[in-house]
Symmetry: C2
Subunit: 111 residues, 2 copies
DNA sequence: ATCGTTTATCGGCGATTTACGATGGACGGA
DNA sequence: TCCGTCCATCGTAAATCGCCGATAAACGAT
């Protein structure tokens, strides 16, 4: 887990760090098809705003698609999502503290 | 995966969506102890900036600790990290497209 | 040819983020 | 006591974000 790797991971996490964008992903996975209209309908946001969120997900490489013939058509990039999931697993594995002597519990707060 | 859940997950992901903060977590897991000084030394940032990143992680509940006696002492919140990992697993599971008829490949780009 | 629909992009606004230096408090050592 | 170190906080500047309405492009239908 060195510098560039963390940077790249942070970028993808940033794309996920907004409820609207998470909802877009879940909606796309819902099989309701790929229409953008359906996505807009499911969010309390203006169409232009949703379009921008989609753009963020596209640029992060988490979804694929575009506008084919007047109609938009987006879908999850399963491969990218799998890669992200794997990278997160690596991160969380790296985050397993190696038996800390419990020397770090200032107050543990109102237990 | 409904609204509030996505919102709460997005908040935690936001805390992770910066390379410096990821590095802080990895450093804390490195067992180098909990010193803030060690963290600052490992980052190309000013001490005040690092302190703010630590604050973000604290507020997200991903790390615990504080300043005990002049010296700072932080450590990963293993429980919170485990919860986050589980929530991410739920998300990624929800993101498994249910056999999309491959009807969504506008151009697949320059293959 | 003209409309209505769908979607992306532009311009702008307020809020938030990221970064820094400076300041101040708490502590240990000389 | 007087420094030096360590850390959090404040104030601030620059950049980015999140949102919107308006607009424009592409298309189908009339």
């Amino acid at each position: 887990m060195d510098g560039p790797l963390l940077h790249q991971l942070a970028d993808r996490l940033k794309a996920l760090s907004h409820p609207a964008r998470l909802k877009v992903l879940v909606t796309l996975a819902g099989g309701d098809g790929c229409q953008c209209g359906a996505i807009v309908a499911g969010l309390p946001l203006a169409q232009s705003t949703v379009s921008q969120h989609i753009k963020v997900l596209l640029e992060a490489g988490l979804i694929r698609g575009g506008t084919e013939k007047g109609r938009a058509c987006y879908c999850l990039d399963a491969e990218a999502l799998a890669t992200l999931r794997r990278d997160l697993d690596i991160l969380f594995s790296a985050l397993h503290a190696p038996a800390p002597d419990a020397a770090c519990e200032p107050e543990k707060a109102h237990v």
